[in-house]
Subunit: 169 residues, 2 copies
Amino acid sequence: MILRSAPLTKAAFVPFGDVIEARGARRFEINDGMCARFHDLATLDLTEAGGRPLVSLFRSRAWTPPFALRLLERHPLSSQAFFPLGSEPFLVVVAPPGETPRAESVRAFRTDGRQGVNLRRGVWHHPLIALAEGAEFLVIDRGAEGETGDGNCDIYRLDHLPEPLVVEG
Amino acid sequence: MILRSAPLTKAAFVPFGDVIEARGARRFEINDGMCARFHDLATLDLTEAGGRPLVSLFRSRAWTPPFALRLLERHPLSSQAFFPLGSEPFLVVVAPPGETPRAESVRAFRTDGRQGVNLRRGVWHHPLIALAEGAEFLVIDRGAEGETGDGNCDIYRLDHLPEPLVVEG
């Protein structure tokens, strides 16, 4: 099955989380007019079960579509936000929350190079799909004292599907 | 008085907060080796008095050093993080926490274009000093229901100093 990516828009992404972008945001001027603030663009959900927000940087290798999706993951305790530091688009592959994602409900979105995303708690998603080698992202997700990442990450494998789910760029 | 900016380093910035950068960070590989994670780069302090973390974008006009500093501000309830989306350096002007900053204790730092900062709660700082017109930043600071920004921002004016404090680029 072929999964073609659609342009990422706030409206299309409603079931999955927030699109972090200046476009359409509440804007006000600060610092005596020297700066515009595009305000409150993501609903972070990071404090469940003793969690705290982590700020990290990700540096990715390039993915080269088309490729078959091997797995989706979800974080049952928290949201996860990605914002690109360069201007290259990246792909966001998601499926709605629920016990097991259905291949038919998986969606692929392509950012415009100036958009980030904040995945809502429990949303199934493919690991980050950067399209440029070395692409960097600021990531805001959850940490908790003494907890390994495994406790907040469920994996659903897709490589046993009767027909591979192939994402196009 | 002339304030010359120094290169921003973690060691020099200890009294003021975190330098958010990959260099020197705890790094581990994720996503089957497709991505490096530079982990937990800032101590966010955003939940005092009913606060929650806000993710916003700032788009700045260009500041052109040298210029006289007119004011410093501090946020008594929270940290504030800035990460640049482009690769242009910016200036960070800070003074240690305390009732009133002394002109002699004000420091200026210049980022290397790949660094962000997280200002610790109560640290005096000049509003964002981008050096490139239209420079954009991802900002992580605090919001609270029904509270105006004024409740978490003290201003200290510097334009009545006997001698102006002039920051050089």
